[in-house]
């Protein structure tokens, strides 16, 4: 029924620093279908944002580099594109929403101007046509009275409204893939819920594929069809959201789910995972989670576990999984 829009194969993005090589993303593979929301979840510094920036080819330079792998968007390998060709994809085919709506709009331009920039750039429209597109983008994000809003400046709006505007910029050219990097983290809880509902609606209308990056399992449960759990630059488990919550196979996934506070259990203390994630410059041999793993085996410390498929859409990298 649905078609694969993005296929990432064995992506490795490293940062070359004076102190050494930081393997921020180290061989990850996943795919995203049209009209699907794919979640990437993990602790801070596990490579979620670097994955997003790699797909957009916007790793910070100098230093950040895609070392190997393929990023195939609708049949085109983005890694092979020139900088100029890549610019034509950004905004038009792929777009991204950043975390903080307070800083991601240019303070000196009106909302209309900022949405129009993308429209002019990619659709070659001029004059009144541009304004129509801008208004339609604002409508898509359910921004009230768009004709008024488009003449306002960012400082005149609330955080929630600004984040909708950021969404309108991202969706203005109706991209096929939208990357949302913790778009609701800076918003308060009620606005957060509204925003997520809004995006489900946008997705229904445009059939856009969304990669939703977050560290919040609650958000994952609400938004995503499928989820990848990242740990220290690798995907340790991929499954449908339902399956992941019902039967997590990787000890890290179970530990993460266990460390979410729950209303239906009266544990004295909230579960937390012992230790710290490894330094991405100096990774342990074998499984990266082994030093913190409660069910570690000798083999885990020696060899990296292969990714094994275990049933429909569920795969895991763990020596214990069968």
């Amino acid at each position: 029924m649905s078609k694969v829009i993005l296929q990432v194969e064995d992506l490795r993005s490293y940062f070359f620093t004076r102190k050494g090589v930081v393997k921020a993303v180290d061989g990850i593979s996943f795919y995203v279908d049209e009209g699907e929301t794919f979640g990437i979840v993990g602790e801070s510094a596990c490579g979620k944002t670097v994955t997003a920036l790699s797909i957009l080819r916007l790793l910070p330079e100098p230093g950040g580099k895609i070392v190997s792998g393929k990023i195939i968007l609708d049949g085109t390998n983005l890694v092979e594109l020139s900088k100029k060709e890549m610019r034509k994809y950004r905004g038009k085919m792929i777009s991204m929403i950043l975390q903080d709506p307070m800083t991601s709009l240019n303070p000196v331009y009106t909302i209309g101007d900022q949405i129009a920039e993308s429209v002019r750039l990619h659709q070659g429209l001029r004059g009144e046509m541009v304004e129509q597109e801008v208004i339609s983008a604002l409508r898509l994000l359910k921004i009230p009275s768009p004709e008024v809003i488009l003449r306002q400046y960012p400082f005149q709006m609330s955080g929630g409204m600004r984040q909708r505007v950021v969404g309108a910029i991202a969706m203005s050219c109706r991209p096929r893939l939208l990357i949302a990097d913790e778009p609701t983290t800076a918003l308060d809880a009620t606005i957060q819920a509204q925003y997520m509902a809004l995006f489900k609606d946008v997705q229904k209308k445009t059939n856009v594929a969304i990669i939703y990056i977050t560290h919040d399992f609650g958000v994952i449960a609400q938004m995503c069809h499928r989820v990848a759990v990242m740990y220290a630059g690798k995907i340790v488990e991929t499954a449908t959201t339902r399956e992941l919550f019902k039967a997590p196979k990787h000890p890290y996934t179970s530990a993460l789910i266990n460390s979410v506070p729950r209303l239906d259990r009266k544990d004295a203390r909230l579960y937390s995972i012992e230790g710290q994630p490894p330094s991405l410059m100096d990774l342990p041999p074998g499984c990266r989670f082994a030093p913190r793993c409660p069910v570690v085996k000798p083999v885990c410390r020696e060899q990296e576990p292969p990714e094994v498929g275990i049933g429909y859409g569920h795969s895991v990298s763990c020596w214990r999984a069968k």
Binding site: L58, S104, E117
Partner: protein
């Protein structure tokens, strides 16, 4: 009835109204001063009572009209060789204002361009451009200007070029710092995300956001330019006599400051007025350009 109305208004909007009045004054007074000076410069031949370089040895060192011994024939007095100070101040406005304007336009454009490129692109481009800037800053400006004047001979354009030659470096430094900060701004990342090219980002997203420091720097440098011109004139490398510029008039009066103070004072006041007006206007412009303050 009317009184209560006024009181209410004072209660509710007094602060805002006061701000508005101050804001209007900081715009009207300095722009009126600058406007008058510019008009004076343009219509100098019509306004000046005497030709600026008409020598009248019999009337030399005459004090201003309002001082004992002064005459209404020379409202602001005369200098060592009897030239009318008022006429020279009026004609001097032409030179001093146009030199400032030209130098500021040239230095601000070069400095801003290089600063943005340096700060945004970073890496080797930045390292190279900043070393060039350092070298420029290390040279004493007066010395270079002197050298320049020696090669080309003192003239109006020599002064403009000589001051511009090194004057761009502080702009480049300042703007580079701003560009460096803005490069990391989320809205610049957002621009990259929608596929904006680096050139367009520099022009459309970085440049408008550095207007504030740029304008402040430009208005502050009015004084620097006029004074540098004066220093050059003093050293014989500035606007060549007998052409009047405020700078060389101040220098002319230096030796007689305790007796014939009016020779230096009046061009000095003119310089002060321009510099102050520039600063006030700069502040006003900065507030205007900040969209957050635009409402008030």
């Amino acid at each position: 009835m009317d009184a209560t109305r006024v009181m209410d208004w004072e209660k509710v909007g007094g602060g805002v109204r006061r701000k508005r009045i101050i804001s209007r004054l900081t715009f009207t007074i300095p722009s009126a001063v600058l406007f008058i000076l510019v008009v004076t410069a343009i219509f100098a031949p019509l306004l000046a009572p005497y030709p600026p370089d008409q020598i009248a040895l019999l009337d030399r060192l005459m004090p201003p009209a309002f001082v004992e011994g002064g005459s209404t024939a020379h409202l602001l007095g005369t200098d060592l060789i009897g030239r009318d100070i008022l006429s020279r101040v009026i004609y001097g406005a032409r030179i001093s204002l146009s030199v400032s304007l030209l130098v500021i336009l040239i230095t601000a454009s070069i400095g801003t361009g290089l600063g943005i490129i340096s700060g945004y692109l970073g890496g080797r481009t930045d390292a190279f451009l900043m070393r060039v800037t350092d070298i420029s800053l290390a040279f004493p400006a007066i010395l270079i200007a002197l050298l320049f004047a020696a090669i080309l001979g003192p003239s109006y354009w020599t002064v403009v070029l000589a001051i511009s030659l090194l004057g761009w470096a502080p702009y480049a430094r300042l703007i580079r710092g701003e560009a460096l900060r803005l490069r990391e701004a989320d809205f610049v990342a957002q621009a990259r995300i929608i596929g904006t090219s680096p050139g367009r980002i520099m022009v459309r997203h970085i440049f408008p956001n550095i207007m504030n420091p740029l304008i402040i720097m430009a208005t502050l440098s009015v004084g620097f330019v006029i004074l540098t011109e004066a220093a050059l004139s003093y050293l014989g490398a500035g606007i060549p006599p007998p052409t009047a510029s405020w700078g060389n008039m101040v220098s002319d009066g230096r030796n007689l400051i305790d007796t014939a103070w009016w020779i230096s004072l009046f061009p000095g006041i003119a310089i002060g007025l321009v510099v102050l007006s520039g600063n006030f206007l700069g502040d006003w412009l900065r507030d205007k350009m900040d969209p957050r303050l635009r409402q008030i």
